[in-house]
Symmetry: C2
Subunit: 85 residues, 2 copies
Protein backbone atom coordinates (compact mmCIF):
# COMPACT_ATOMS: atom_id res chain seq x y z
CA UNK A 1 0.00 0.00 0.00
CA UNK A 2 1.24 3.49 -0.81
CA UNK A 3 0.92 6.09 1.96
CA UNK A 4 1.40 9.86 1.95
CA UNK A 5 2.78 10.97 5.29
CA UNK A 6 3.07 14.60 6.37
CA UNK A 7 5.62 15.11 9.16
CA UNK A 8 5.40 18.47 10.97
CA UNK A 9 8.61 19.44 12.75
CA UNK A 10 8.77 22.49 15.00
CA UNK A 11 11.25 23.94 17.43
CA UNK A 12 10.39 23.28 21.08
CA UNK A 13 8.76 26.35 22.64
CA UNK A 14 11.71 27.10 24.93
CA UNK A 15 14.13 27.12 22.00
CA UNK A 16 15.06 30.50 20.45
CA UNK A 17 14.12 30.85 16.75
CA UNK A 18 16.65 33.22 15.11
CA UNK A 19 15.23 32.62 11.62
CA UNK A 20 11.76 33.51 12.87
CA UNK A 21 13.12 36.63 14.58
CA UNK A 22 14.80 37.68 11.31
CA UNK A 23 11.55 37.27 9.36
CA UNK A 24 9.68 39.23 12.00
CA UNK A 25 12.08 42.16 11.78
CA UNK A 26 11.94 42.09 7.96
CA UNK A 27 8.14 42.18 8.09
CA UNK A 28 8.34 45.16 10.43
CA UNK A 29 10.66 46.91 7.95
CA UNK A 30 8.07 46.26 5.23
CA UNK A 31 5.51 48.04 7.37
CA UNK A 32 3.70 45.07 8.92
CA UNK A 33 3.93 46.40 12.47
CA UNK A 34 1.16 44.09 13.72
CA UNK A 35 3.37 40.98 13.52
CA UNK A 36 4.13 40.00 17.13
CA UNK A 37 5.87 36.63 16.68
CA UNK A 38 7.13 34.34 13.92
CA UNK A 39 8.14 30.67 14.39
CA UNK A 40 9.44 28.61 11.48
CA UNK A 41 9.10 24.83 11.20
CA UNK A 42 9.32 22.14 8.49
CA UNK A 43 6.78 19.97 6.72
CA UNK A 44 8.13 16.80 5.13
CA UNK A 45 5.82 15.01 2.71
CA UNK A 46 6.84 11.38 2.24
CA UNK A 47 5.48 8.76 -0.15
CA UNK A 48 5.99 5.39 1.55
CA UNK A 49 5.20 1.85 0.39
CA UNK A 50 4.27 -0.11 3.52
CA UNK A 51 1.63 -2.25 5.19
CA UNK A 52 -1.11 -0.89 7.41
CA UNK A 53 0.24 -2.59 10.54
CA UNK A 54 3.82 -1.30 10.04
CA UNK A 55 3.45 2.27 8.71
CA UNK A 56 3.02 4.12 12.02
CA UNK A 57 5.95 2.41 13.75
CA UNK A 58 8.14 2.98 10.66
CA UNK A 59 7.36 6.72 10.52
CA UNK A 60 7.96 7.09 14.26
CA UNK A 61 11.35 5.40 13.86
CA UNK A 62 12.22 7.67 10.88
CA UNK A 63 11.40 10.74 12.98
CA UNK A 64 13.36 9.53 16.01
CA UNK A 65 16.40 8.42 13.97
CA UNK A 66 16.66 11.13 11.31
CA UNK A 67 13.86 13.57 10.56
CA UNK A 68 13.60 15.38 13.91
CA UNK A 69 16.28 16.45 16.38
CA UNK A 70 14.81 15.27 19.70
CA UNK A 71 16.89 17.78 21.70
CA UNK A 72 15.39 20.93 20.16
CA UNK A 73 12.48 19.78 18.01
CA UNK A 74 9.00 18.31 18.43
CA UNK A 75 7.30 16.31 15.67
CA UNK A 76 3.87 15.02 14.78
CA UNK A 77 2.65 13.30 11.62
CA UNK A 78 -0.47 12.56 9.59
CA UNK A 79 -0.78 9.34 7.56
CA UNK A 80 -3.03 9.08 4.51
CA UNK A 81 -3.53 6.13 2.19
CA UNK A 82 -2.92 7.06 -1.45
CA UNK A 83 -5.83 5.69 -3.49
CA UNK A 84 -4.65 5.09 -7.09
CA UNK A 85 -7.06 6.43 -9.78
CA UNK B 1 -7.72 41.23 17.53
CA UNK B 2 -4.85 38.74 17.75
CA UNK B 3 -4.65 36.10 15.00
CA UNK B 4 -2.52 32.98 14.66
CA UNK B 5 -1.69 32.41 11.01
CA UNK B 6 -0.06 29.23 9.66
CA UNK B 7 1.63 29.77 6.29
CA UNK B 8 2.51 26.56 4.40
CA UNK B 9 5.24 27.06 1.80
CA UNK B 10 6.19 24.29 -0.60
CA UNK B 11 8.35 23.96 -3.68
CA UNK B 12 6.37 23.93 -6.94
CA UNK B 13 5.98 20.37 -8.21
CA UNK B 14 8.25 20.90 -11.20
CA UNK B 15 11.08 22.17 -9.01
CA UNK B 16 13.79 19.68 -7.97
CA UNK B 17 14.09 19.18 -4.18
CA UNK B 18 17.75 18.33 -3.41
CA UNK B 19 17.17 18.43 0.36
CA UNK B 20 14.30 15.99 -0.02
CA UNK B 21 16.43 13.73 -2.19
CA UNK B 22 19.18 13.76 0.45
CA UNK B 23 16.72 12.79 3.19
CA UNK B 24 15.35 10.00 0.98
CA UNK B 25 18.79 8.51 0.41
CA UNK B 26 19.60 8.74 4.15
CA UNK B 27 16.37 6.94 4.98
CA UNK B 28 17.30 4.22 2.49
CA UNK B 29 20.70 3.87 4.17
CA UNK B 30 18.90 3.45 7.50
CA UNK B 31 16.98 0.56 5.97
CA UNK B 32 13.68 2.30 5.12
CA UNK B 33 13.57 0.99 1.56
CA UNK B 34 9.85 1.71 1.19
CA UNK B 35 10.35 5.49 1.03
CA UNK B 36 9.63 6.48 -2.57
CA UNK B 37 9.71 10.29 -2.38
CA UNK B 38 10.45 13.09 0.11
CA UNK B 39 9.52 16.77 -0.38
CA UNK B 40 10.44 19.37 2.23
CA UNK B 41 8.49 22.60 2.84
CA UNK B 42 8.16 25.25 5.55
CA UNK B 43 5.45 26.14 8.05
CA UNK B 44 5.57 29.66 9.44
CA UNK B 45 3.41 30.36 12.46
CA UNK B 46 2.74 34.08 12.89
CA UNK B 47 0.99 35.94 15.70
CA UNK B 48 -0.54 39.06 14.14
CA UNK B 49 -2.52 41.92 15.68
CA UNK B 50 -5.02 43.03 13.02
CA UNK B 51 -8.67 43.62 12.23
CA UNK B 52 -10.95 41.04 10.68
CA UNK B 53 -11.36 42.93 7.42
CA UNK B 54 -7.59 43.45 6.92
CA UNK B 55 -5.96 40.22 8.08
CA UNK B 56 -6.33 38.16 4.87
CA UNK B 57 -5.04 40.90 2.58
CA UNK B 58 -2.14 41.59 4.96
CA UNK B 59 -1.06 37.93 5.06
CA UNK B 60 -1.32 37.64 1.27
CA UNK B 61 0.89 40.70 0.90
CA UNK B 62 3.43 39.28 3.41
CA UNK B 63 3.60 36.04 1.40
CA UNK B 64 3.94 37.82 -1.94
CA UNK B 65 6.55 40.30 -0.68
CA UNK B 66 8.69 38.19 1.65
CA UNK B 67 7.61 34.79 2.92
CA UNK B 68 7.34 32.85 -0.36
CA UNK B 69 9.50 32.98 -3.48
CA UNK B 70 6.85 33.14 -6.25
CA UNK B 71 9.24 31.73 -8.85
CA UNK B 72 9.80 28.35 -7.17
CA UNK B 73 7.34 28.19 -4.28
CA UNK B 74 3.61 27.89 -3.71
CA UNK B 75 1.93 29.06 -0.49
CA UNK B 76 -1.34 28.71 1.32
CA UNK B 77 -2.37 29.87 4.79
CA UNK B 78 -4.84 29.25 7.59
CA UNK B 79 -6.06 32.09 9.82
CA UNK B 80 -7.32 31.50 13.35
CA UNK B 81 -8.50 34.03 15.91
CA UNK B 82 -6.63 33.71 19.20
CA UNK B 83 -9.21 33.72 22.00
CA UNK B 84 -7.57 35.03 25.20
CA UNK B 85 -8.34 32.91 28.31
Amino acid sequence: MLYEVKVFISLKEAVLDPAGAAVKSSLHHLGFAGVEDVRIGKVMTLQIESTEDKIEAAVTEMCEKLLANPVIEDYRFEIEEVVSQ
